[in-house]
């Protein structure tokens, strides 16, 4: 019989004045890869906080390896030996990979360090999972996939009870996900347990032994391996997909409002594309551009080569014709110390004079937009209200074009749909939207054109219909590149 590694019994947590985990029951076993699908955003962070940090409970008990680690009666101070991977935030970028794995961990008591030994050990660990890396490299020089594998190895070396992988597939290429599956399976066979949080059917059905569906802070269903794909799509994702089928109007053919011409700036190399008024351009990047560099160029940094042009471009984006929605906007785009109305009106002062002189003016704008008076602090708003605030702020700004950075990464199904709703609203108002994504299927429903940045700076552009035909034929990404290179390689 397999040993139980995690059990959560009737766990209830409150936060921001509401129950974020509500009678939450969860159970997983040693060596199991358990998927977790957040159908909404309720309680996901709290779930992780409970498992990793023994967050204060209002009710319930948490057991790890059959030992009671947290209960509503007493809150223990110690953290659990649970390793959570979200991006590469657990690694020290400036240190070599071997140091990160062997030295930078709790309980390491060595004094003298023999670099060659630890590098050899790390090399061996990578070879065990069928990978080769230069172990002398600093973490910042590794690819994102190598960083994830490094973190999994680090978790195993640290004898973690559970490893939480939080939507890491969203930043990986399809071929890397296949490799990830091999690595996860290898460690699962050795007894390491994984919780894989994602809202992507493909990944979940490929990687997970079972999948738990979470909604409103509860587990509503547990699906066995064979039933994951069918059940998820038919019974849980289908209602969301139905909502998608609407047209975006007000598109005016041919009028270019933005051009990026052979731009070179740090990681951005020879990037070219243009955007028409009111269109939705889906940009899919295989080339590992650091999009922060692109934002820097949009914000006024001078590119090394090439240029960026948009209508009425001054020295800077003074008229705010360009808007950017960053990845995970509720964390990255709000000013928690400012009031709701100040957050809302921050991008509006180029359109309305004396805006900052009168608080009543700002309040009335907020009231008109939301239909009610919001007095609480921005950090106390619900997730939906925060998204609403950000998207309304952009709408008030009234830009000509919006760059939306990885809007579907690390979000639940409901938020994905909510994001799409707003993007559609922008499009119907004649605002062009550029969606930057790593997953080819994300955002296709909205896109008018799809732009792929391939490896070695190649690029391809498709119409939506053409792209859908290719997808229907069932061709994989690589063959898709081959066939379309002949057909529609954009040589601009």
């Amino acid at each position: 019989m397999r040993r139980e590694v995690l059990r959560m019994e009737r766990v209830t947590c409150i936060g921001q004045g509401r129950e974020l985990l509500n009678n939450f029951n969860f159970q997983m076993f040693e060596g199991e890869v358990m998927g977790l699908v957040p159908l909404d955003s309720y309680g996901l962070d709290e779930f992780i906080d409970c498992v990793v940090n023994n967050r204060q409970l209002l009710y319930g008990r948490v057991y790890i390896r059959e030992k009671l680690v947290n209960t509503y009666e007493v809150r223990p101070r110690a953290k659990n030996n649970v390793y959570s991977i979200l991006k590469d935030e657990n690694l020290i970028q400036g240190l070599p990979a071997s140091d990160n794995v062997f030295l930078i961990r709790e309980g390491y008591r060595g004094f003298f360090i023999n670099d060659s030994i630890i590098q050899k050990q790390l090399k061996r660990l990578f070879l065990e999972v069928g990978m080769k890396i230069n172990t002398k490299k600093r973490v910042k020089e590794l690819t994102i996939f190598e960083k994830y594998i490094l973190e999994i190895i680090k978790a195993d070396v640290g004898k973690a009870d559970i490893v939480i992988l939080r939507d890491i597939g969203s930043s990986l290429h399809p071929e890397d996900i296949e490799k990830l599956k091999t690595v996860v399976q290898y460690y699962a066979d050795r007894g390491l347990s994984f919780i894989y949080i994602s809202a992507r059917t493909e990944e979940l059905s490929r990687l997970c032994d079972r999948v738990s569906l979470m909604s409103h802070g509860r587990i509503i269903k547990v699906l066995e391996h064979g039933k994951i794909k069918d059940n998820l799509e038919k019974h849980y994702f289908f209602p969301y997909q139905l909502l998608e089928e609407t047209e975006s109007g007000a598109r005016e053919e041919g009028q270019k409002i933005f051009r990026c011409e052979n731009v070179w700036f740090n990681s951005i190399q020879n990037m070219s594309f243009d955007v028409e008024k009111g269109e939705c351009l889906l940009v899919h990047d295989y080339n590992n551009f650091d999009w922060k560099d692109f934002i820097a160029v949009l914000s006024g940094e001078k590119p090394r080569k090439g240029r960026i042009w948009w209508e009425n471009k001054g020295r800077r984006n003074a008229r705010r014709d360009i808007a950017v929605i960053l990845e995970n906007p509720v964390e990255t785009m709000l000013f928690p110390q400012m009031s709701y109305e100040d957050n809302l009106c921050l991008n509006l002062d180029h359109r309305i004079g004396q805006l900052w002189w009168s608080r009543n003016k700002r309040k009335s704008i907020a009231r008109e937009l939301t239909g009610r008076e919001i007095t609480c602090k921005v950090k106390d708003l619900s997730l939906k209200e925060k998204y609403e605030l950000i998207y309304n702020k952009i709408q008030l700004q009234n830009p000509k074009i919006i760059f939306c950075m990885f809007p579907y990464r690390n979000v639940d199904v409901k938020t994905q749909q909510y994001t799409n709703k707003f993007l559609k609203r922008y499009l119907s108002a004649g605002i062009a939207v550029v969606i930057i994504t790593l997953d080819m299927m994300e955002g296709v429903a909205l896109a008018d054109r799809i732009l792929l940045f391939g490896k070695n700076y190649s690029r391809m552009i498709f119409d939506k219909e053409e792209f859908e035909k290719i997808i229907l034929k069932g061709s994989e990404v690589d063959s898709l590149k081959d066939t379309t290179e002949r057909k529609k390689n954009d040589k601009k």
Binding site: T12, I14, G17, E19, L58, Y59, I295, L298, S299, G300, R316, N317, A318, R320, I322, A323, V324, L326, T332, M333, L334, F335, P336, Q337, M338, D342, L346, N347, D349, H350, L355, W356, W357, Q397
Partner: protein, 326 residues
Amino acid sequence: MKKEMTGEKSAAMKAQQRKNFIAKYGSLIALVIMVIIISLVKPRFVSFINLRNMFRLASINGLLAVGMTFVCLTGGIDLSVGAVMGCAGMYSAYFAQESMNQPAIVAVLVGVAMGLVIGTFNGVCVAYLKVPAFVGTLGSMSIAKSLTYLLTDAKPIPKLSESFKYIGGGMIGGVLPVPIIIFAVILAVCFLLLYKTRYGRYVFAVGGNANAARVSGINIKKIIATVYILSGVLAALAGVITSARVTSGVTNTGEGYETDAIAMVVIGGTSLAGGKGRLWGTVVGIMLMVCLSSGLDMLGVGAYYQMMVKGFVVIMAVMLDSLSSD
């Protein structure tokens, strides 16, 4: 269980409200309690003359603290304000000597110009050359000190013109000291700037979330540079007033004032991480530090012990702020 949860929820909310209240008004409450206690022990503490002296002292420190508030709101720090104050004081005193035969306004403008130049240097270093604020302003502190000593080879400058001395020692209507009037005007202007203009909102935005501010179309480099310029100018003005008040240019003017200014800002509830703070809090911080100093003097506490007490007050203020934001 439902009832239990509702009770827990309201208790948690009440505790949070209490914490917020303490964070917001803790310094003010401490100031009021301190004034009451000291005035009970030493009734002379609340006499008109003593209050006037305290306000006069506060007006000089206050100029530094107000400038520092802007800098801290962007997440920066300006360690050069004390040195800039000394430098500007010396240069203005140099031009205010009776032998120079210059109108007072020339001396004032020279002093303020020194602050403007060093402030601009700080701003360019931090915003455009990406030198960390701590290092950049530490460097300019040294430069400003060097400029001060070079002017007169570290000798004081005596015999200043009467019109210049009026800036520091004059009284409006024989009652209200000129430095207090200057500080009140500057404070009012800074209030308007911070709370009623686009610039002020951008200062909060840059400190609160620089990335988001940048994608919102805010020129963050310009905002950061300007807060250092403002801080430099206000420090220089404080230096000019000090020279006029002590009726001579002294090379060690402003020494250690930067730490006092930072303490006042922190006591006032402004976060050194940026984005959070209030100008009225800084005013409370200024008054708290000045009252503490004056009160301890009256109670006969030695200067060395006073430093210790001030240190504890600053740590307490930051601790309360951290606890409330937990």
